[in-house]
Subunit: 289 residues, 2 copies
Amino acid sequence: MIFNRHMFRRAAIIGTGMIGGSLALALKKHGLVGSIIGVSRQEASLKTAVEMKAIDESTMDIHKAIQGADLVILAAPVKVILDNIEDISKHLRRGCIVTDVGSTKLSIVDLAEKHFPPHVMFVGSHPMAGSEKSGISHANADLFKGAACIMTPTAKTNRMARDKVKQLWTIVGAQVKLMEPAAHDEALAYVSHLPHMLAFSLARAIPEAFLEHGAIGLKDTTRLAGSSSKMWSDICISNYRQVIKAIDESVKSLADIRKAVVAKDEQELVQIFNQAKTKREILEKKING
Amino acid sequence: MIFNRHMFRRAAIIGTGMIGGSLALALKKHGLVGSIIGVSRQEASLKTAVEMKAIDESTMDIHKAIQGADLVILAAPVKVILDNIEDISKHLRRGCIVTDVGSTKLSIVDLAEKHFPPHVMFVGSHPMAGSEKSGISHANADLFKGAACIMTPTAKTNRMARDKVKQLWTIVGAQVKLMEPAAHDEALAYVSHLPHMLAFSLARAIPEAFLEHGAIGLKDTTRLAGSSSKMWSDICISNYRQVIKAIDESVKSLADIRKAVVAKDEQELVQIFNQAKTKREILEKKING
């Protein structure tokens, strides 16, 4: 049967930025969808997505886009994803599978489970790909190759939908891990949101006149400060409890260093730095391994 | 005349780690010295330095090493450099030029100017090369190629010595900038010492169980936490006033973010992140350009 040639007949990608655009390209590359319609509030982004052949059709009308889609991917910044969920909930096709690519999961999953009717199957995803860059021009079909993708199914998640979305991520090259939405948000606050906050804080704290003396170490440590301000504002606000907790932990850690510096306590400083080095070595092994 | 073949007849390098070892290799590569004697408190380091042909002779006796040296390079961690200055001051050959590679300058320059007799010519240097790695095994002759080297001559510095050391750094590939010792320490507290403190604090603050979820962003942001604990303890203590000031500025910057997250103030967060992004863009241009 012709409908069986692809995993999905028609995908709607809501948000054609770097992640949405890359996923569109990957879905096409691996023949997972019959056709893709892209939605954006930015006409230029849609135009580029069509030119790059990431999407077959474009529209700025989200309701039009989801008509007849059996796969809907919410790929806008977190706050827009939350708006999109409320906006599309009554207009989704029966049997439609919906997933998202948001960097926080609890608020998105909670809202989707609250709003989507029983005939719509939602499962949350967070592909940990991308970089400080943003926009369709940075999209590529291999972005997810070797990247982790955390999926956050709950007791309410349809198993078939979960397995199909898992298969989709696996085929585009991601390594899927399953987590509870709350556990995802707590872990990501430390390993992703906090490093962004520290990079922003560091870059902002340096007097401009001193920047010329910066070298590669500073460049690496502040790289994440090049990330989208709007996107990170959304992430912080949507995961505020965990982000605040992680910021407080890092300030506590900095305060320990400050105290030892004031006391000129070499032994204490070496011990603090060694604790950090041990964690860093574990991380190095996990990321390389 | 045979003595004119090299810029220096005999160099003593006190500390044969990554920087000392690399400088020894670079001096040999560019034919700047007749012979090099290396000093270390670690026999294994000396043995490797000889095997790598970084040094011609080795000794664990610092007084023996500086006998007859017309160039002495202090290349140990900052605290050891301070000890070395007191230790060697009465034993240096007349007309000897002394420089160092320490990451802080005010305490080193002050001590050298206080202790060295008038017939010894000291000028402080800080080659901004190296990485989170340490030890002679990471040494290479091209380490200083394209790197900045901040020299901190003062009103008391002999001009000939300053020019000769400047020439030395230039020949091994570094771009020399001149700064006051205090101005160096203030700027470096922000562009180097603070990023290290934030990397250590971040790595240390992350619960071990979450490390497996870390990706490339976390890896970059914590890379400096792999640096030598002993070396960084020395740097913090020797530049404690400026390090504390920089830590306080970064905490202030984090507190601004925290406050905006608590208030869920999107506009404020975007503004803070944009301020950071602007600084980061300046840095990106300076480092690439």
